[in-house]
Symmetry: C2
Amino acid sequence: MTQIISIANQKGGVGKTTTAVNLSAALAMLGKKILLVDCDSQANATTGLGIEKPALEASLYHGLIGEADIADLMVSTMLPKLTIVPSSVDLIGFEIEMVSAPRREARLKQLLVPVADQFDFIFIDCPPALSLLTLNAFVASHSVLIPLQSEFFALEGLGQLLDTIKRVKSSFNSKLKINGILLTMFDRRTNLAQNVVEDARQYFKDLVFKTKIPRNVKLGEAPSYGLPVVLYDKQSQGSKSYMAFARELLKR
Amino acid sequence: MTQIISIANQKGGVGKTTTAVNLSAALAMLGKKILLVDCDSQANATTGLGIEKPALEASLYHGLIGEADIADLMVSTMLPKLTIVPSSVDLIGFEIEMVSAPRREARLKQLLVPVADQFDFIFIDCPPALSLLTLNAFVASHSVLIPLQSEFFALEGLGQLLDTIKRVKSSFNSKLKINGILLTMFDRRTNLAQNVVEDARQYFKDLVFKTKIPRNVKLGEAPSYGLPVVLYDKQSQGSKSYMAFARELLKR
Ligand SMILES: Nc1ncnc2c1ncn2[C@@H]1O[C@H](COP(=O)(O)OP(=O)(O)OP(=O)(O)O)[C@@H](O)[C@H]1O
Ligand SMILES: Nc1ncnc2c1ncn2[C@@H]1O[C@H](COP(=O)(O)OP(=O)(O)OP(=O)(O)O)[C@@H](O)[C@H]1O
Ligand SMILES: [Mg+2]
Ligand SMILES: [Mg+2]
């Protein structure tokens, strides 16, 4: 049974894309069949996997407005078991164009129906906003994986996100649950990070994954080469921690 | 003549709010009269200046939809010369509610008219999106200050932002210009940061401010105490660099 998981947090820069790209790649290295949907007009996941945007004829936008099928949108990556649905700047127009369209919150769900049983996991990289795009991701998903940066503002915003998930669960998608909370950019030298981790574990208990992703410069370098860190620098802490996280996710 | 400056970048987590709060506070310490408008539904600038959100009767949302005047919204802070227009989660609804409203892009501009000559600077902290809220900020502003994190994804997204500024300039606000590009979270130990700085200076030349803001844990700690870093830890690198930046901005 395919698991469809949104990677979301409206707080900006917390490691959503880095998690989407590197978790997908790590699971593909462990033999799982993965589809990654880039649902952000910044298209960072698309670039992070080395896809040349100008060469694309269609992207997620065209699928959401009904001009293309999912089969026309899927692009292979350097990892045989990892496929991506790329994004582009066109996605900026989606929100306004869809305001009065019927079932505007279920466009992504409909687009994924034909492929839902062809993959072990489908991950959706969300933009930093509780917008119609993120709503589409939540309606299409079984669960939400929340990257949490070990910083004060990140912890503060969690309440809004949890409220939104509850609201989507009651009005559009009763199956939706929280997959888990992943601590990212953890710097064990600072009290701030330790405090945020303690607060998160106290409040969210087992929802917090045991694996913590450390701050590691290789995670920042890899995207400039269009590679996931597991291919860019296999021995780095960044790569090892995402491989460990992939194994922890499989055990759940 | 009051300068109205948007602090914007659709890339998330690049230091928009940290710059908005600490630049405003540094200029207030230097004797300038400052208004900070929190234009993000995350309301991080509001929390970063110690404003208790539940105690607020009205916030920016109420001003934008015409239910409150700017005078009802301005709240004083711990610094006599720094005033804030706080935000709240209500702002999430603005985009959808305003879709067919007349002059929806000029709501913030109209709201600020009564106070435009009472301050030396008005700063607008923008959300991580090229949305109607950011459009309102650009239409209300004389210029845009762009925080740029020394990371690959941040540099990649700059093209979209510059295109948007050009488009706003030609359709809504012919005065709009780029104030400058501020390098944030600079870690001189990594090649990645050095490369991004070199690329930015090569491409944007004098638009890049000389002051670089280093990565400094005090900047992350200060908001948890509801204080700008210039009050939280005056001797820290974070505080010194924002004071230096405030002086550089005044010289321009
Ligand atoms: N563990 C880490 N160590 C070091 N750098 C990291 C780490 N995780 C992410 N980064 C870097 O931090 C920046 C922010 O991460 P990323 O872009 O993945 O966050 P995001 O939540 O997807 O941002 P946005 O809100 O803009 O979509 C990127 O430049 C990324 O390369
Ligand atoms: N120079 C710095 N050194 C260390 N930490 C920093 C620095 N600047 C910002 N931070 C921290 O990094 C995180 C991101 O910064 P901030 O929230 O200001 O970015 P933003 O662009 O406003 O994010 P968003 O896109 O969500 O609005 C915050 O937790 C902040 O405290
Ligand atoms: Mg992202
Ligand atoms: Mg912010």
